[in-house]
Each structure stands twice: as C-alpha cells, then as structure tokens.
Amino acid sequence: MKLEMGYFNIRDVVFGTGSKLDSGVLTIDRAALERLVLEDESIKSVVVDIARPGESVRITPVKDVIEPRTKVAGKGGIFPGVISNVETAGSGTTYALKGMAVVTAGRIVGFQEGIIDMTGPGAQYTPFSRLINVCMVCEPVESAERHVYEKAVRMAGLRAAAYIGSLAKDAVPDEIKVFETLPLMEGKAAFPNLPRVAYVQMLQSQGLLHDTYVYGVDVKRIVPTLLYPTELMDGAVISGNCVSACDKNTTYHHLNNPVVADLYEAHGKTLNFTGVIITNENVYLADKQRSSDWTAKLCKMLDLDGVIISQEGFGNPDTDLIMNCKKIEAEGIKTVIITDEYAGRDGKSQSLADSDPAATAVVTGGNANQVVLLPKLDKVIGTLDYVTKIAGGNENSIREEGIIEVELQVFTGATNELGFNTLSAR
C-alpha cells in the first residue's frame, strides 16, 4: 500500500469571512465553524478561539488534539468509518495542515482532561504548545450524560478537522512525501537480508470513557489485527479518551505516529518495516490473555525478527504491556517497549505496576509525577475550575498570585508512550 502525503506549512490562522487557505495563512469563518460544532444537538454552546505559540495562554480542560487532513486521491476518506464512509484508507494522496491543530475542550469528566500552556515552563512539556491551536470549548445541554457529551465533543473535533483540512483540497502542498509498505512476500523479496520488524500498538480500551476507535469500531471489541502503517495517517484510529492527559494518545498522535515515522525512516536501510499490529488494553483478565496471545501469534505468523511495542496509559495497561513483551519474546522475537513512569514525586518509587525480566529494552517518556510550578498566564481558554481536581493536581494546586503547582501528568502529551517527545528519565 502506497500513500503520498502532501504537507502544508501553516504560518498563521485568523478569523475572517469565508474560510480559506491562502499562501500558508488559514482564514476560518468563525460562525461557520460554530455552526458545524452545533450540528450536534447535545452541544449547547461553543466558544472558538485561537492560541499561538508564545502567547500567554493556558488551554484547559483539553480533551483531544486533531490535525486537519483531507483525502484528495485514492480510496476512502479521512477518519474512515467515523467521518468518511467505512472504506479501507491509507492509499492515494492525503493532505495535512502542519503547524496547527484543532483542540477540543470541555469539562467532560473534569479530572481527566489536560492542560496546554502556550508559553512558560509548562510549554516545554506539551508538544502542542508549538502549534497554532484552533480551540473549541464545548458546553453540553443539561440532559447530556458524560458519555454523550464525550461523543459529541469527539465528533465535533473530527468534523472541524475534516472541514479545515478540506480547505487545502485545491492548493499545492509545500512538501510531498511517499510512504509504501509492500505485501509480505514482496517485502521479503525486496529486502531479503534485513530484519523483519513490525510495530505493536496498544490502544487504550479500559472503557468508561477510556476508549479508542478503529474504523469506527470500539477497540474494546476487537481482537488484535493488522494495519498498513499508512492507514493510521488517514485517521483509521481516533481517540475517544478521557484519561490522564500526559500519556493518552490524542488523534494528532495517531495521525502523526512517531514510531511509524521512524520505522519508515529506517525501512530498507537497517530493517524491513512490515506493518502495524493493533491490540487493546481491556480490563478483564480473559481479554488481556486473549489479546496478548493473539498479538504474539500474529508476530510469529508474520515471521518477524523484532517489534516495537508502545503503550497508552499506565497502571492497569502496564500488565498488558508486560504480557505482550513476555509472550512475543517467548516466540524468539526481540522487543523494545516504550512506556512512561510513575516513580512518585520524589522519583524513588518503582515506575511500573508490572515487570518481567524479558523486558530488557525499555524506552521511557519520563516520570509523570514530577512536580512543576506554573506561573499565572494572562488568558485562559476554557476554565481553571478543574485544576485542583485534575489527575496530577491537588487541593493546594492553586497558590498565591495564581501560581499553579502540578505534576507533569496534567500536560496533554507530556510523557507520551509512542515516543513523541524527547523527555526521558534515568
């Protein structure tokens, strides 16, 4: 499967009449975007705002971050099975608007959303401080239960990203990159001497608003399966998560999966990147056993030499991570796992909830319990009402002069377990 990606470098985003993309400047018709969000009758109101890198702005409670994309050639569409019809995506041509994102926010669960600081010490921990963010703070109608509210905001974000992405349809991208994964046998013939490597991506599926969707299917209900890496670039996997902000994978992360990018980079040189195995992180033991058995089975079936396993979330999913690692290693296939740590505020506690001697190669995204002090910022997009309750905050989080003391946990994407960041720990 072959996908051509066209990238547009977005230099600025402004409000104006008539949405358009012109020489790197994106104009958004605010009223049109608001109408698009309010199509969902569960959303009572929305406030749309723009936050730029370096501005004294704090965005919270952040639910999802999404990169605008659009399909210009080939089968299927963006976010297949959710926004577009359910048709296999990942081939043809897709355009992406780089340097910007749609950020959805709202008090869905309150303590399970995150913070994006656009400046100050907090900004270095969230990669989204480096993007121009079109923020949509969504309020639900009173009768909407949390899961209804979550779905409404999830869908609104995807609709907005697809709408903004479509503005690039007739423009000429700044850069084009081609990604190709050959069918198994052809791949083996093309790179007979390179180790065969796949990517095992664990998707958050603990339920109760810890959910992920693949082609519209709730990941709790899948058994491990195979994807071409390019399917992810078309939004085959989307986030429906309300979980600690630091190590949940936003839809932006799925679209720009760094493991996929870096395996493609090494593809044909030091390894043969054969594909992606997606699996879940269900809470029932039988599900954990089935999924890790099947993941190891698929690795063996693909005749792999090595895999990279990435995690999402912490605690309970640590058991899935270790089960996957142990069973894949037992098949004689080498593994590297990517995780993050909860070593306590003092860094002295053990970092994972499960372990095994088979996990000899670990990459860490850092200790999420590290405490940081954040100055007051001039403007808040959303509300600070949940800062004392958010995962990573506490009753003393708001201090004198508006200073906030929080753990890294609160920052969206801070200790990402796809290896999106440079933050680490020793």
């Binding site: 669960v109 399970q112 270095q124 239960e145 949390r146 899961h147 180790p195 490597v197 109760l208 608003l209 810890h210 309300c242 600690s244 760094p258 493991v259 870096d262 395996l263 980079e265 030091t270 390894l271 030499d305 090595g306 990279i308 605690g315 080498k334 590297v336 995780t339 909860y342 070593a343 306590g344 860094g347 002295k348 506690s349 053990q350 994972l352 372990s355 000899t360 190669a361 670990v362 990459v363 860490t364 850092g366 200790n367 999420a368 958010i390 995962a391 905050g393 009753e395 753990e407 946990q409 990402n416 796809l418 290896g419 999106f420 960041n421 440079t422 933050l423 680490s424 720990a425 020793r426």
Partner: protein, 349 residues
C-alpha cells in the same frame, strides 16, 4: 566570585605513604592538595580550592570505622568546606568502602554535599550508591584523568547546591531516584535505534531496568466466615460526599478512614468517588458498586458473615506511587489487625 572550598579524602597509597604495609596509617589532615588532589585542583582552576586533604590507611579505617570516622569528621568540620570529595577508589575494595562510608557520614553529620568515585564492581558502589553520589570510574588508576574530568563538574554543581540532573547527564551511578531530562532524540527514534542494536546482538542500554517486585503470599482461608469480622478497603476512591480529606484524583498522598456505623447503603447523596481514572457517573449514582456496603449488610443480617467492620479505608489507586501505596497498606494493615479484623475485601476499579 569567591572560591569554593573543598576537602579531599585519600588513602595512604594515593598519599604516597606506602602500600599494604602502611595500611594502618592513622587519620591525618594536611593543608592543600595531595596526590590525586593535584589533578582535581588543576581541573577546578579558579572555581574551587582544595584547602585540605585527609589521609587514612585502609586497614585502620575498616578495622576501626567508628574511631576513624569520628576523627575524620572533626578534621573536616574545622575546614567548613562547600564540598567533600573522596577517592576515586577505582577497584580497591576497602578504599571504596571507606570512601562511600565517610561520604555518607559527612553528609549526615555535617550536612555538606559529598562525592566519590569508584569502579562499578567495587563493593563500596553497591553499598553506598543509593546514599551518596558516586561517579563510575575505570578499574585502576589509569582512569584517573577521566575520573577527574567527570567528577569535577558534578563536584562544582553539588558545591553550588545546584539541582542535579539525571544520572546519565551528570555522570553518577543510577541511585534509584528517577530524574527527568530532555534527550537529544525523541523516544521513538531511540526505540528504533535500540531495536536495531538488539537485533544485531550489539550492546544497548535500557532506559529503565526492570524493578524486582515483592510478592505477597495470600493468607490461609478464613476458618469460619459466619463468625468473621470483615473490613472493606478500596483503591476505587469512595469517599463521603464532598471528599472531606481532599484525597487526590491521581497520585494520592493520603488515604481516608470513614465510619460505617449505621450505614446500610451508600447513596448518591452520601458518597462519591475521588478517583480520576474512570467515568464516575455510575459509581456516583451508587457507590456500593465499588464499595459493596449494601451487600455486606445483607450478608451480616442473614448471618452469612460475622460482621462488617465499622470503618472502611479508601484511597485512589490512579497514578499513585507504589511506595505510597505500600506505606498506606502497612498502616491500614496494622490498624485492621489491632482491631481484630479477620478478613478484608479489597476492591479496585
């Protein structure tokens, strides 16, 4: 800027006094730098000065650790240094133990920063690396130059009381304290590089060596459940409405203990969850779903259990450090035992 003051500790061999035959040399303080201290002094330049060197024979130190340390600490105290440096001891076992021990004692008694260096397999390393900063060195004195180069900047940082980076940044042995820092490459790139090395059978370094877990054997079965006093303990965050003790939604620093006397059923008006790791809608509707008080009251009335203990213990398991959980569990366990509780139902989410 005023020069920082350092005191250096070496054994009789590095002081040029002699080998094994003089290893019972008594503690002595000399003005200025001696032996390897000269290399440190040169590396420090104008930033710091070794004002004194303490010399002690390895045999004397190891055979009279209390006396040796008392004397040495007194000698160091007179200098009022900003930093105390010992060694490096390379692979000399007794010297390494002496360096680690005197650093640990100086740190505790005088409250000044300390630093030593030794080979990773020196027995002193395992004994003291979680207590004092130890720079890894080669196994013999041929590694002196490199040891000084690594120790010097860390010594200055410590002397200036600056915050210390991760072990791989500041060149000390991993000491069990995880410290965040920014790598040059992002995690995914490091993972690919690590996998390529692992596949090729080349050496690679894991970023997190697997911890060793303690496993708890389950207690024997309760003899007669109809007589047993049963307690409820949860990591599901059930608290009286309003979360009176402000238990955190994640990374809990405390647990709560609440009285259940007269409580037959947890209702939406009386209890809720403080846990930040799941959709609380259904547990807030009926907290018995996580802390089954209603069912246990039924069993109590039916005579199927002896009684429900009048207090329940609760915290949030979400992102809570294992060390905190262990401490809570030890306290809660002690309290339950003292109260004569026979069995506990632990619920999570």
């Amino acid at each position: 800027m005023t020069k920082l003051k350092a005191v250096h500790y070496i054994n009789q061999f590095f002081a040029g006094i002699g080998g094994e035959e003089t290893a019972d040399y008594l503690p002595e303080i000399r003005e200025g730098a001696v032996g390897p201290g000269l290399a440190f002094q040169q590396a420090f330049g104008d930033a710091a000065e070794i004002t004194a060197t303490v010399i002690c024979g390895d045999t004397y130190f190891n055979e009279h650790p209390e006396d040796a340390q008392n004397q040495i600490v007194q000698m160091i105290a007179t200098q009022q240094p900003d930093i105390f440096i010992a060694g490096p001891a390379f692979n000399a076992g007794r010297y390494g133990v002496a360096c680690g021990m005197i650093c640990d004692t100086v740190r505790q008694r005088l409250g000044i920063p300390v630093l030593t260096g030794m080979y990773e397999e020196n027995p002193g390393a395992d004994m003291f690396k979680t207590k004092v900063y130890i720079t890894p060195t080669k196994n013999n004195a041929a590694g002196m130059r490199k040891a000084v180069q690594t120790m010097m900047p860390l010594a200055l940082k410590l002397a200036r009381q600056e915050s210390i980076g991760a072990s791989c940044e500041d060149g000390y042995m991993p000491n069990g304290v995880r410290v965040n820092f920014f790598e040059k490459e992002r995690g995914s790139k490091r993972a690919v590089a690590m996998l390529v090395k692992k596949l090729a059978g080349k050496a690679f370094t894991t970023e997190y060596p697997m911890p060793v877990f303690d496993r708890v054997d389950p207690s024997p079965a309760v003899q007669d459940i109809t007589k047993a006093k049963i307690a409820l303990v949860t990591s599901g965050g059930i608290v009286p409405k309003g979360n009176p003790d402000h238990i955190e939604a994640s990374s809990a620093s405390r647990y709560g203990e609440y009285n259940l006397a007269g409580v037959r059923d947890l209702t939406a008006d009386t209890y809720e969850t403080a846990h930040g790791g799941y959709d609380p809608t259904y547990v807030n509707e009926d907290a018995d779903r996580v802390l089954p008080v209603d069912v246990l009251r039924d069993l109590e009335a039916e005579g199927k259990i002896g009684s429900l203990y009048h207090t329940f213990y609760t915290t949030t398991g979400n992102g809570t450090a294992v060390a905190s959980a262990k401490q809570f569990a030890a306290e809660i366990g002690r309290k339950l035992k003292n109260a004569g509780v026979d069995a506990v139902i632990l619920t999570s989410t």
